[in-house]
């Protein structure tokens, strides 16, 4: 039985889709079978970020409505053979995403894959609650910025009340993925520090993804950042986050804190 992970945040634009694709590709490169499912019905983008936008024939809603078999809708990645994508539909009414339908699809995926990564839409509406409903583990993607932290706090509340796990009285495992972290600004005191966000949200840290051009560059060419340039700083951070997700006790290095005395001086000047 595979593990179901929801990548969620409340706020839009913080990096849910980027992180879903990057973590999915990182896990799949170790030979594990991974499917990344786009729950953003109406505004799908995971296909574009993963470079499969021209290969989408059937989507999640087609499968739920019985118009296509699950195997027909799964798109296999051309670079990593154990990585699959299930796209969201683009034009349909999002009411087509039913609770029973989602439950069936997730159950089927769980039995066929090691990891089922659900890329949640922004907001706290139906799509977001359905994406988190069947999760075993939640990754809360947060930017070190007030509105993102506030929305993450709301999402944590929902994870603890509106999921199957919560309703069964179990504890939902939650991890914080801090994205777009800028060590220079944090050090200058103009960006919330890692410890500030951790103290406020009080969930364990899965990783810190530094703000980087490499993320944009990877999405431009339709490749998860862990495939596009696996030696770049964000890719390394995602690879490490993926290892922690598998249970490895790997300490999280805060970007910028290991810089030398001279590095700090020149880093500040450059900013």
């Amino acid at each position: 039985m595979g593990k179901v992970i929801v990548v969620t945040s409340g706020k839009g634009g913080v990096g849910k889709t980027t992180s879903s694709a990057a973590l999915g590709a990182a896990l799949a490169q170790n030979g594990e079978k991974v499917v990344v499912v786009d729950f953003d019905v109406g505004l799908r983008n995971l296909d574009l970020v993963m470079g499969a936008e021209r290969r989408v024939v059937y989507d999640l809603v087609n499968v739920i409505q019985g118009e296509a078999k699950l195997a027909q809708a799964l798109i296999r990645d051309k670079r990593v053979e154990t990585l699959y994508l299930l796209a969201a539909s683009q034009t349909r009414d999002k009411d087509n995403l039913t609770q029973e339908g989602v439950e069936k699809v997730i159950a089927a995926l769980k039995s066929a894959f090691d990891w089922v990564i659900c890329d949640s839409p922004a907001g706290i509406e139906r799509g977001a609650t359905l994406a988190m409903r069947h999760a075993d583990v939640a990754i809360v993607v947060t930017n070190p910025e007030v509105s993102s932290v506030r929305d993450s706090d709301r999402i944590i509340g929902l994870l603890d009340s509106k999921t199957l796990k919560a309703e069964n009285g179990e504890r939902m495992e939650k991890h914080l993925l801090l994205t777009r972290y800028d060590p220079v600004r944090a050090e200058r005191g103009d960006m919330l520090k890692v410890d500030d966000v951790l103290e406020i949200l009080s969930i364990p840290l899965l990783g810190i993804i530094p703000e980087s051009m490499d993320v944009l560059r990877a999405s431009n060419v339709g490749s998860p950042v862990t495939l596009a340039d696996n030696r770049s700083a964000p890719a390394i951070a995602y690879f490490e986050a993926a290892r922690r997700l598998k249970g490895e006790a790997l300490p999280v290095a805060v970007p910028g804190e290991k810089r030398s005395f001279f590095g700090k001086i020149f880093g500040r000047k450059a900013a």
Partner: protein, 87 residues
Amino acid sequence: MNFRRLFSRSQSAPAARDRLQVLLAHERATVGGSDLVTKLREEILRVIAKHVQIDDEKVTVKMERGAKVSTLAVDIEIPFDAGKKAA
């Protein structure tokens, strides 16, 4: 002078942290666990009202989430002559 401005400008991150802490303590009590807090409030009120007369408006029930434990704070104002009225 740009140089002086750079040094005199105060950091903004501490303000962000403080504002969030105050806001979220409030929101967690009102929005987050609203169902539970509302239920608790009603039941606590019912029990207290059996013995003393209390004003609905003068009761606050707050739930705060922490890393390991959550705390429930109940604050009820009981008027001086409440016991007599209820009896």
